[in-house]
Amino acid sequence: MSTVIPIRANVGKGCTDVVPLVERGQREVFCGLTGIIWLHRKIQDAFFLVVGSRTCAHLIQSAAGVMIFAEPRFGTAIIDERDLAGLADANDELDRVVNQLLARRPEIKLLFLVGSCPSEVIKLDLSRAAARLSVQHSPAVRVLNYSGSGIETTFTQGEDACLASMVPDLPVPQANAEQELVIVGTLADVVEDQFVRILNHMGIERVRFFPPRRAQDMVPIGANTRLLLAQPFLGDTARVLQARGARLLPAPFPLGIEGTTAWLQAAATAFDITSDRFQAAVAAPMARAEASLARAKLHLDGKSIFFFPDSQLEIPLARFLSRELGMQLVEVGTPYLHRQHMAMELAMLPEGTFLSEGQDVEKQLDRCRAAHPDMVVCGLGLANPLESEGMTTKWAIELVFTPIQGYDQAGDLAELFTRPLMRRMRLAS
């Protein structure tokens, strides 16, 4: 425990005590079903069956489907008027649809019944359905359930709900098992591999990832588990993992050099890694990242940026952009603020940063237009209209679909923000 996190020295209170502007009104955000778009690729033998309306099917299809030309590992059981007539009938119907699906896709090992707004409002008990179907299809297929409905979840919270639903099935490690590091949250495969190399290099050998790439790779969770959150939107997952005795390592999120270093340091501290070994493991990738950020800083330094709420990644991104690239934060909007998980991030934000939680989109647009920032991070429903008003935008969803964590992605992450500015310059000249 001899090391200190280097960044702590120059961190004041930042935004720790700041009270965000909490707004309620029209929210221009995705629902949790959207998480299926990346989760179905991450867990390769899982299938996501949404129980919902045609709207739900249309949402996933519009958000992802039209770009995917292969047969996807998701689908929708569309509720129709017959199902609305009586609940018992709806359960029989669901069994029929699941049987039909599993006959068509015998390679599926894990089936998620994903709740939606309609299924929640009519109180279709999907958890009982999942239990019933699990028994029927055991051992070939496990059936789980979570809600990705818009009334309960916003965008990335769908992943949180999905991962939390997997936790009860996870095995308990042996009583005197060695301390093990579990990294929680979907990361790109390439990022996972990089983290494993760095952690192994500093001497942490026992590293696992949750969610796993295959449904059968069950990560044991218990008192020996040390949790490192790779994503900021995992409130429920962290809670149920901690309830099983796992210990959460407080850390900022691994975005940018500073965030990645502090995040790795949290693991190093927990595993009693010496400062020398830590430095030896991170020195080379850190130097590479510094070089790549130097170029981006030329374009971004002093530029102002405005975040509309989307994924809960906004605060860590704002921290990275302001501290490592010199951007000015006009407003940082987040759909939901988990104070405890975000504590270190908040402490690192520049003092006086304007934070908002929730949304009233028309009022927020008024604020954005009044401030006329150099760059706006927002969803696809707002991006083109704002561009046509003369603003430069960065569409937020890309930040969830691109490998951005870790040292070797720091430059790529910065480039996601420089590219729209560069493009505007090029097209103007």
């Binding site: 045609r54 709207t55 068509r104």
Partner: protein
């Protein structure tokens, strides 16, 4: 419940959004849960609109369900009116709001807004996008259109018409309107109102000031046109001007409604496509087997162009528009095929796999299917993705539309000379039967893999039967000897699947257990006589 991988249409409130977004000065207040704003990006991304759709969502959350969602709706409606000051307002529910039954229409009446408010009843669990668009347009017309005597009829001596049907997010609606507007204007017909695309509520009010209506998209506008006929005595056109000959028919129909000489109107009628299809370069297109699927209007029109203008053989036609099933069945009977009326993607996939066409004319979904089966494909109907909202002028309708169709449909097919050479010489390392057409950049042509029939896969896609259905392929009792198998490979890839199936059918009917090279040629001779 219905298992759905891809859906051809969105829910009906998306249809209502297409009407609201197409129009000016109309606002739509939609009672919907958080997340339903995804529909905005259909317009801002796929159609690349520069404005946000004029839609205010209540975006209620779970915690609101315990409280007063009705009050939430009223606040949203009042604020939308104050902020956007529309000239007319649409109010309605999405699928989830339909379940909580807040009655947006009644709530809005209580607000006493000084503009017309049109309540929409869109049953989300029974109806779909096009129905929603049609119903919304109809309700707007019913509520806003003024009777003839309230409108000052202008003095112009020219016949006058409305163009009805084009919406936001419509497949090529933008350019179809431009093309048809020009066609009508050149004929000497004045355009009174184009609706809903870029129409205002005031424009809807003066619809009756036209002599007749031109219905471009019956899925959207038929209901309204029928009402206008009943109420104001305006006749409307039935011909869809897609393809050269249909456009000529359309000109004749309009001329008759407008009291113009059709011969004069058709005097300059010409499209390059009419000559291109007659030029000898197009001879090899004769009898190419084509499967057509889309909304009813585009499917029926495309089948006619395919059969009469391109000289293709229509081996299948279908639609997802159940409201127009009758029209498609009638068209199917012209080509002696069974119409496929379904919105079940898996059923359509199974049908295409069984028919083994050389070209698929369909929607974005048929592009998925065609890619999987390795069949050339062109898009003729919504649903479509961003590449089918092109920057260039690309109508489907009128004479320029006929030109666009010719280019678009021929492009995915292998060109004539290459097709001949591949039929003659095999084993070329670069130009071989397994390669994609060289004008499309080569690459492995998946269709060639298909000549090995895969009964199990096809069987699995027979969704309606719970048991694994026995598809025609899997009852094959005859086996191929090596010589015949080799000979089969010499048949050009795009007809090879058909040859295999015909030969097996021929052998089965005659109880031949081993198919030899002789059987292959006997079967070929037998089927060519038919």
């Amino acid at each position: 419940m219905q298992l759905t991988l891809w859906t051809y249409e969105g829910p009906p409130h998306v249809g209502a959004m297409r009407i609201a977004t197409a129009m000016e000065d109309v606002h739509y207040v939609l009672h919907a849960p958080q997340g339903d704003t995804y529909a905005d990006l259909l317009f801002t991304m796929i159609e690349r609109l520069q404005k946000r759709p004029p839609v205010t969502y209540t975006t209620f959350q779970a915690r609101d369900l315990g409280g007063d969602t009705a009050e939430l709706f009223k606040t949203a409606a009042r604020e939308a009116f104050e902020r956007f000051s529309p000239k007319a307002m649409l109010v309605g529910s999405s699928c989830t709001a339909e379940l909580i039954q807040d009655d947006p229409g009644g709530l809005c009446k209580a607000l006493n807004l000084p503009i017309p408010v049109v309540p929409l009843e869109l049953p989300s669990y029974q109806r779909k996008e096009n129905w929603g668009a049609s119903e919304t347009f109809y309700q707007l017309v019913r509520n806003l259109a003024l009777p003839k005597d309230a409108i000052e009829k202008s003095k112009s001596a020219k016949p006058r018409c409305n163009i009805l049907g084009p919406t936001a997010l419509g497949f090529r609606h933008r350019d179809d309107v431009a093309e048809i507007r020009k066609l009508l204007t050149d004929m000497g017909v004045d355009i009174n109102v184009v609706a809903p695309l870029s129409a205002t509520p005031d424009d809807i009010a003066r619809l009756s000031n036209a002599d007749f209506n031109v219905v471009l998209y019956p899925e959207i506008a038929n209901l309204s046109a029928q009402w206008l006929k009943r109420s104001f005595g305006q006749p409307f056109t039935k011909t869809i001007p897609i393809g050269h000959s249909a456009t000529c028919d359309f000109v004749r129909e309009v001329a008759q409604l407008a009291g113009i000489d059709p011969v004069a109107a058709l005097h300059d009628a010409t499209s390059r496509a009419a000559w291109y299809t007659r030029s000898v370069d197009s001879t090899y297109l004769t009898g190419k087997r084509v499967f057509v699927f889309g909304d009813a209007t585009h499917a029926v029109a495309a089948a006619r162009v395919a059969a009469q203008e391109m000289g293709f053989t229509v081996v299948g036609i279908g639609t997802y528009s159940r409201e127009f099933a009758r029209e498609v069945r009638e068209a199917a009977s012209l080509y002696g095929v069974e119409a496929l009326i379904s919105d079940d993607y898996l059923e359509i996939e199974a049908c295409i796999a069984a028919l083994n066409p050389e070209l698929v004319l369909g929607t974005q979904m048929e592009r998925h299917i065609a890619k999987r089966l390795g069949v050339p494909c062109a898009v003729i109907s919504a649903p479509v993705h961003v590449q089918d909202f092109p920057a260039r002028y690309s109508p489907q309708m009128g004479f320029e539309g006929a030109n666009v169709l010719f280019d678009t449909w021929v492009h995915p097919l292998m060109m004539g000379l290459e097709e001949h050479l591949i039929g003659m010489f095999r084993g070329d390392s670069e130009f071989h039967e397994d390669a994609a057409p060289s004008h499309l950049g080569g690459g492995v042509h998946a269709q060639s893999q298909l000549d090995v029939a895969q009964p199990l896969e096809v069987a699995q896609t027979q969704e309606q039967q719970p048991q694994v259905a026995i598809s025609p392929q899997s009852i094959t009792v005859s086996v191929w000897d090596t010589g015949a198998e080799k000979e089969l490979k010499k048949i050009p890839f795009f007809v090879r699947g058909k040859a295999r199936r015909n030969t097996e059918k021929y052998a089965n009917e005659r109880g031949i257990s081993v198919i030899t090279t002789e059987t292959l040629y006997e079967s070929k001779a037998y089927f060519s006589q038919q």
